[in-house]
């Protein structure tokens, strides 16, 4: 049973028409039917193009939470072979809101983890709607430290409305768990590639969403507070969600402008929820590109560049002081070496070389003519 968001309603009847025609075509194949199906599919694409050409941040927020949107489990099933799940924080319990384990990603050993929201009523409850408790974050710490121990990179999928805020979570130190897990991300000596695949809900997202590279699907959102929460606190009115979503600047393109993310992974027309495999494969390609670059860096370089990344966020255009004592402290701690490009790629050297060549040619031209 598909779910249609308010603004997707025009698609619903077209989808059901296609289903009808397809079943007709199965019992009674005909070229006319095939043509008509193609015609309706074109209509669907046109409708979606229209919807997405003027899509609002609030609509994107709704897409990011779409029940049919691919979840962490789908990414793991399609991108990871030999997945070997790991459970529990070894202190209190297992928390299914964060799933994770070892596996092979395109031939390479990796540790993969992520928030899992579930895909139907039963599994949503089982995974607590992707809202981790402290034990979920502590499990993530345990897994990341294992990855570091065995020197394999970490792939982390972010998709959470936020950390769970119930009684038990407070009792067991939700704040401490988030702080320590973020610390763990910052100090890990192996590459961490983060992909925000749906909702990036505040501190609960940051805790496993802090990495060397942060990628974001086109229709995902990332925010310090949900539009609902913001609306009720600042507007004192729960109905101003669209205004709040607009004001919060929570979309992928907003994140890219301020360097909170490194790359947007485009979604096919209609969104990830209509095209699971294409989206997941695009995501896999983007992760692979990141890992290829990061695999050339050693532990200290990885920590250095990761911490620099987070020190610089918010400084661009805001403060005149871009390099501070903190940057120097990092240089001293992890060594100054920054990834250097080969000398022949340096623009100044290239221009100098070209001028030399031109002069030599001119020299010969004048002498022998």
């Amino acid at each position: 049973m598909n779910t249609y968001l308010d603004f997707e309603k025009p698609i619903e009847s077209l989808d059901s028409r296609i289903l009808e025609l397809k079943s007709l075509n199965e019992s009674n194949p005909s070229d006319l039917l095939v043509d008509e199906i193609q015609e309706i599919e074109n209509q669907i694409n046109t409708s979606y193009e229209k919807i997405f050409s003027s899509i609002t941040p609030w609509q994107r927020t709704q897409i990011s939470r779409h029940p049919q949107r691919p979840k962490t489990r789908d990414y793991i099933e399609n991108l990871i072979t030999d997945f070997y799940p790991l459970s529990g924080d070894r202190a209190f319990s297992e928390d299914k809101a964060i799933m994770g384990g070892f596996g092979k990603f395109r031939g390479q050993s990796v540790l993969v983890m992520g928030h899992e929201k579930g895909h139907d009523t039963y599994s949503r409850i089982e995974h607590n709607f992707g809202m981790p408790k402290p034990e979920g974050y502590r499990k993530a710490q345990r897994l990341m430290k294992l990855a570091e121990h065995f020197d394999v990179p970490v792939i982390s999928f972010v998709d959470t409305p936020g950390a769970y805020s119930g009684l038990g979570a407070e009792q067991r130190g939700q704040s401490e768990a988030i702080a320590r897990t973020t610390e763990c991300c910052l100090s890990l000596g192996v590459p961490i590639v983060v992909v925000i695949i749906g909702e990036g809900g505040s501190g609960g997202a940051v805790a496993i969403g802090t990495g060397n590279n942060v990628l974001m699907l086109e229709n995902s959102v990332y925010s310090v507070i949900s539009p609902e929460g913001c609306s009720s606190i600042l507007w004192k009115d729960t109905s101003k969600t669209a205004e709040a979503a607009e004001a919060l600047k929570l979309t992928a393109s907003d994140m890219l402008k301020i360097d909170v993310i490194d790359k947007i992974i485009p979604e096919p027309i209609g969104g990830a929820h209509r095209h699971h495999l294409v989206t997941i494969n695009n995501t896999g390609d983007a992760i692979e590109n990141c890992l290829n670059v990061l695999s050339n860096q050693h532990g200290n370089e990885l920590k250095h560049s990761r911490q620099e990344r987070y020190l610089q966020i918010g400084r661009l255009g805001l403060f005149s002081e871009k390099t501070t004592t903190a940057n120097e402290v990092l240089d001293n701690k992890y060594g100054k070496s920054r990834p250097q490009q080969p000398f022949y790629l340096n623009t100044k050297i290239q221009i100098f070389f070209l001028i030399c060549v031109a002069l030599i040619i001119l020299f010969f031209y004048w002498n022998f003519n």
Partner: protein
């Protein structure tokens, strides 16, 4: 007479005069409730002879989101500056506590709920840099509702940024001491607030990740009142000691002198 000449104690409902409260460091003389205290007065009362040097941090107003709800961010920000006489939610000072040079960063709830924005994140970096440069312990007094909504990601990414700052102090083997005061919640408790080498709390301070109303709205659970109090956190292992405000100076001096191996 200014508006803040008197205020009501939330616990015993006594009307208290500012003159009187200044003498007790804003502890209710009637019921011992710890009211919020202005960071400037707090620092003055903590440092030897009330002397300290204020450390400035990059706090120029920036509104990258051009944020507006029922009021503009600029309006709220200007009001907060006027009300508190501070640049942003942090006040950083360096002075001596019983002879020990110490850097203190104290937060004001009066400044937009003590919320941390881009300047707040830089304040923590500055305080940590100062502590490392001058080889002093860093003491942070938290008092905040969390991260500042009006600067969304610039606030949220203060979680990793402030943790990097704290890490610098720890790497230099300098004590990082957190004093949790009423209230401390959200992104502040979920970052630099909960990673102290030593963590103390003021009596009866509310300390939490999510407020009771958020819990009610998202989970339907009713949070018992005592759960998010300093005493409960002590019992559950998240705080080392609860210290009365008048004793915090002694307490800090004692632990810092031990950790820094100073001659008694």
């Amino acid at each position: 007479m200014p508006d803040n000449a008197w205020q009501k104690c939330k616990v015993c409902m006594t009307m208290l005069y500012a003159d009187e409260l200044e003498k007790t460091s804003y502890v209710c003389p009637n019921c011992d409730n710890h009211l919020q205290i202005h960071p400037r007065l707090r620092l003055k009362n903590l440092f030897d002879d009330g002397q300290f040097e204020e450390i400035k941090y990059p706090s120029n107003f920036s509104d990258p989101l051009n944020f507006k709800d029922s009021k503009t961010y600029r309006e709220r920000f200007n009001q907060a500056q006027e009300k508190t006489g501070m640049d942003d939610a942090f006040l950083i000072g360096m002075g001596k506590i019983k002879g020990i040079p110490t850097t203190i960063a104290a937060m004001s709830f009066g400044f937009m709920g003590g919320s941390v924005g881009p300047a707040g994140a830089e304040a923590m970096v500055k305080a940590a840099e100062h502590s490392v440069t001058f080889n002093t312990p860093l003491v942070v007094f938290t008092c905040s509702g969390g991260m500042r909504m009006q600067t969304n990601q610039f606030s949220l990414q203060a979680i990793p940024k402030t943790l990097i700052a704290v890490d610098m102090v720890k790497d230099a083997k300098l004590p990082y001491i957190v004093v949790l005061t009423d209230p401390t919640s959200g992104g502040v408790s979920a970052s630099f607030g909960m990673v102290g080498d030593v963590t103390i709390a003021e009596p009866n301070a509310s300390i939490m990740f999510a407020g009771a109303s958020v819990t009610k709205n998202t989970t339907g659970e009713t949070m018992p009142e005592d759960v998010q109090k300093a005493e409960y956190l002590l019992e559950h292992g998240f705080v080392d000691q609860i210290v009365h405000r008048r004793d915090i100076r002694d307490s800090l001096a004692q632990i810092m002198s031990i950790l820094l191996k100073r001659a008694a």
